[in-house]
């Protein structure tokens, strides 16, 4: 089964004397005694870890304002290129046209230059390439992965898509029909209404919270797409991050495919920079507490578990407290090490898992905790989450717990740098933030410098407890009585409309078959 060269190799390795093994890892073993059992109860001492060796980001700004950044590591002959267009996120959708950035990111792949949708698909496949375009809140992100030898071919397709989208009217109408269809289907999904309510609770009227509706989807015209594509998907301030390429290789390709791409003279980049309104973080004092606190409960009678989300707005990574706050959130909800997981899963056994995270957008950060719990334990589980939030604000985190969390986070960070796609994302984000070229290599020191006192201070200042937004999807008849003593519970039906008198007389809620 094994090619003979491999067999020889493995035999020769087997024959190597044990002397080549580092002595510090083999205290008990001597040649000839390998079958004797080692001391299994004593941990193997760790030597110093080998540091991460990722080349620094190399960068260059093109004459048209496009900012190139690359990390040279190649893997398996694949390369990855990632563009970020900072003025083309969905928070910049014009009033009444919510969903426009999403439409553009879909339709640019349906026709570009002389290629139609089928050509784009076939040409990308032929180049062993994948191209994806997506609109996030703040940016449009475009990712290209290709075999290095066919990158020129693949980048020509990407250049067509970004610079010469044809926005075919029939494709627009098909996409609109699909978007409307999905929207209508969502009208019957409690999880859709729950997500929409969360956006409304967190961001109110701010563009970050605005839902796409039937009216906005219907109102998007081809002219809107063309205007958005030509005035926002522009080289000025765009970032082109890469991995698997030297800076010279990247420059040659970028000049060839994007060098003569100029931002139209009429576009006022200065105006884009301030167009999304600021959002102040929600401070503990600014949100209602006690009985005025609202829990939004979306009724799905068929659900066996209750899906719980607790969220609030907070600082973003521009704030100096952000790294300490992030650590506080990880201590609560960071995977199976987090306090919530250990409490709700390992100790109480009410849940398969409970997690928390902090997100940083350009105008605000948000913290959220999520758990899917046994429906008969929803109230108790919510109280436990609130108690954990109170606990992390009450006392400094013990050193051992913090050390383990830091090691775990650093390990995850290192593993997150594996593969070309991860590295092009790093290159792009370092350039977007105008961060030092060696930011990846300094992460460890920055992480380990955070003290328990800083975490405690950040938690006390930025982790809300009273007035946190709580959204639950579950069987309201079972869940409501458990939540009513904790806050003011508003119950919504499958259609997202509030059921006004739910639970008033402990009777099943009114329902219609409609």
């Amino acid at each position: 089964m094994i090619p003979s060269s491999r067999l020889l190799l493995s035999l020769s390795l087997a024959a190597l004397p044990l002397a080549v093994v580092r002595a510090d890892e083999l205290p008990a073993a001597a040649p000839g005694t390998i079958s004797a059992e080692p001391d299994r109860a004593t941990p193997v001492p760790l030597v110093a870890p080998r540091p991460l060796a990722i080349p620094p980001v190399a960068r260059h700004t093109m004459a048209n304002g496009m900012r190139l950044a690359t990390i040279e590591l190649e893997r398996m002959g694949l390369v990855s290129v990632r563009w970020i267009f900072p003025y083309a996120g969905n928070a910049t959708d014009p009033a009444g046209k919510d969903g426009l950035a999403g439409f553009v990111s879909n339709l640019v792949l349906k026709g570009a230059g002389t290629r139609d949708a089928a050509d784009i698909t076939l040409d990308l496949m032929g180049a062993g390439a994948g191209l994806s375009v997506s609109a996030t809140r703040d940016f449009m992100e475009v990712t290209l992965t290709a075999e290095k030898g066919k990158l020129d071919e693949a980048m020509a397709i990407a250049a067509d898509v970004l610079r010469r989208p044809t926005l075919p009217p029939d494709e627009l109408e098909r996409h609109r029909r699909r978007a409307l269809d999905r929207y209508r289907q969502n009208q019957e999904k409690p999880e859709y209404w729950a997500g929409r309510k969360l956006g409304e609770r967190l961001y109110g009227e701010h563009p970050y919270g605005k839902p796409v509706t039937e009216a906005t989807l219907s109102g998007i015209a081809r002219g809107d797409l063309a205007a958005f594509a030509s005035s926002r998907v522009i080289p000025q301030d765009a970032v082109m991050g890469a991995s698997g390429l030297t800076l010279d290789e990247l420059k040659v390709l970028a000049e060839r495919h994007f060098g003569d791409w100029m931002t139209p003279g009429s576009v006022q980049v200065a105006a884009y920079k301030s167009e999304i309104p600021d959002l102040a973080p929600e401070a503990a004092s600014a949100v209602p507490s006690g009985p005025a606190w609202t829990i939004d409960l979306f009724d799905e009678p068929a659900k066996d578990q209750a899906d719980m989300t607790l969220a609030f707005r907070t600082i973003n990574e521009d704030h100096p407290d952000y790294p300490a706050l992030r650590l506080a959130v990880e201590l609560l909800g960071g995977g199976s090490l987090g306090r919530l997981y250990r409490n709700l899963r390992e100790d109480k056994r009410w849940s398969y898992g409970a997690y928390g995270e902090i997100d940083s957008d350009a105008k605000a950060g948000a913290v959220s905790f999520e758990a899917s719990v046994q429906k008969d334990k929803t109230g108790e589980a919510l109280r436990e989450v609130l108690a954990e939030l109170a606990r992390i604000k009450a006392a400094p985190v013990p050193d051992a717990e913090l050390q383990t969390m830091k090691q775990y986070l650093y390990g995850s960070y290192v593993r997150g740098k594996e593969g070309v796609s991860a590295l092009s994302a790093s290159a792009a984000s370092i350039e977007l933030d105008r961060a030092p070229a060696d930011r990846i290599l300094t992460y460890r020191d920055r992480l380990f410098a955070i003290t328990p006192a800083q975490i405690l201070a950040a938690a006390r200042t930025h982790l809300v407890r009273e007035g946190i937004h709580v959204i639950v999807v579950g069987d309201a008849r079972a869940v409501y009585p458990q939540l009513a003593p904790i806050g003011t519970v508003r119950v919504y039906g499958r259609d997202g409309a509030e059921i006004k008198d739910f639970g008033k007389d402990k009777q099943p809620p009114p329902r219609s078959a409609g």
Partner: protein, 444 residues
């Protein structure tokens, strides 16, 4: 350098070493595969135990899965709770899954933690039985039951189980769900757990694959040190490999789903197991059938006719009891029967007319890129090497398979499709949203 290697791959008849490895079997039967890669200072230690859902008997389902959880509860020299905390404190992570044929554990550590990772992993392989306690088992039963509830608490959650029942007869190994049935899991006793460990968790039933930043000679010495003294166990019970046969006749069932909001159709065909050339041909054919904006069901039924909201065609890759599956969500106002007819017509026309121009070469080059994308991480490399060894006795099986895939012709694909994708032998599952008298609709 890597490009040169790619060219070699295309030129050579056998595997040309995308992932160079060494393989050795210890005297106690443990198969050890090492793949060195120094890109980042991380090592993946992957333990592939040859027991999965397909090895379970009726009334004892979920044993492999429950046991997978139990393996994190400590062993004779590792106190309860210490496995995770030691791994995390090193900056590592770990997890596991239970599949049809395997229970697979992985521990990823910074490269200075390889010795410690092997101490932990070898202890739970060789020295678990003395640490089995009913309280820890009870805890994991509770967690597994929550996992199964969560997994089954959503739309279309019954599709895999119901499809398996349509496709496979009572007693067929592929009929078991990898998670297990809740009552069976709840009924598992500590003595069952000990017996399970004795039966399957022996070095001679395990593949240890290690990928990443290490010196192979040092790593092999560490493996011998920590695993060499674990005694060989009894051979695992022989596996049942039912011979391939088409489903005797069309089988169809409609289920109603209280959380689903749209009609869905899942058409399945039995196909030969991986290793049979027809399985490989059919894997390419899924790309022809499913298609994209240029051809296939996506173009014809989703884009053009708008009969479906989405469609996917894929095939399973287990050791026994495989199928090719076509799943589609009906567009508004389209009956499941009409959608099913349209899907089957698409199969027929794809098999009876020439493939669209450029389709097959495009599928092949995309497939090759996808495979390179799938082995970017050392953890994925450790798994693909272990799977190759477990299924084919050849860690680099995927490389040879890729070479064959790149060579199949349109006629070969069509012939394989005609052989297996016969609607007279299809299993058709239709999911309809339950009528909603209790639909939580507000009165307004």
């Amino acid at each position: 350098m890597i490009l040169a290697r790619l060219l070699l791959l295309l030129a050579l008849p056998a595997s040309a070493g995308y992932l160079p490895y060494t393989k050795e079997v210890l005297p106690n039967g443990l198969t050890v595969i090492l793949h060195e890669d120094r890109s980042i200072p991380v090592v993946a230690v992957n333990t592939w135990v040859k027991t999965g859902a397909a090895d379970e008997k009726a009334g004892e389902t979920g044993r492999a899965h429950l046991f997978e959880h139990f393996m994190f509860e400590g062993s004779e020299h590792i106190p309860q709770g210490a496995f995770d905390s030691i791994v995390y404190a090193m900056g590592g992570t770990n997890n596991a899954w239970t599949g049809v044929d395997e229970t697979n554990y992985y521990t990823l550590v910074p490269s200075n933690g390889l010795g410690e990772a092997l101490r932990l992993e070898s202890d739970r392989l060789g020295y678990l039985r003395g640490a089995i306690n009913p309280e820890a088992l009870k805890k994991q039963i509770g967690i597994v039951v929550n996992e199964l509830r969560e997994r089954r608490d959503g739309p279309y959650a019954e599709v895999p189980g119901e499809t398996a029942k349509l496709l496979w007869p009572e007693g067929h190994p592929a009929r078991n769900s990898p998670g297990g049935e809740i009552p069976d899991v709840e009924a598992t006793a500590a003595s069952d757990a000990a017996a399970f460990h004795r039966k399957f968790y022996n070095p001679n039933n395990v593949i240890l694959s290690i990928a990443g930043d290490f010196d192979p000679a040092e790593a092999m010495a560490l493996v011998r040190r920590w695993y060499g003294g674990i005694p060989r166990g009894p051979a695992a019970p022989p596996r049942r490999y039912p011979p391939f046969a088409k489903l005797p006749a069309r089988a169809a069932k409609t289920i109603s789903d209280a959380q689903a909001r749209q009609e869905s159709v899942v058409i399945s065909f039995r196909i030969p197991d991986p290793g049979h050339p027809d399985h490989e041909k059919l894997s390419l054919l899924t790309g022809v059938l499913g298609g994209n904006d240029a051809w296939g069901m996506k173009k014809a039924l989703v884009n053009d006719a708008e009969l479906a909201r989405g469609v996917s065609v894929n095939l399973s890759n287990d050791q026994r009891g495989n199928s090719l599956r076509i799943s589609a969500d009906a567009a508004a106002g389209v009956s499941p029967a009409r959608l099913e007819r349209a899907l089957l017509d698409q199969v027929r026309s794809a098999l009876s007319s020439p493939f669209p121009p450029r389709a097959l070469p495009s599928i092949k080059s995309a497939l090759k890129a996808a495979i390179l994308g799938q082995v970017q991480k050392v953890q994925d490399r450790a798994v693909i090497l272990a799977r190759g060894e477990a299924h084919f006795g050849d860690p680099a099986h995927f490389e040879a398979a890729l070479l064959r895939l790149l060579a199949y012709t349109e006629d070969e694909l069509r012939a394989a499709g005609a052989e297996y994708l016969d609607e007279a032998h299809a299993a058709v599952l239709t999911v309809v949203p339950a009528a909603t008298p209790t639909g939580g609709r507000s009165a307004r």
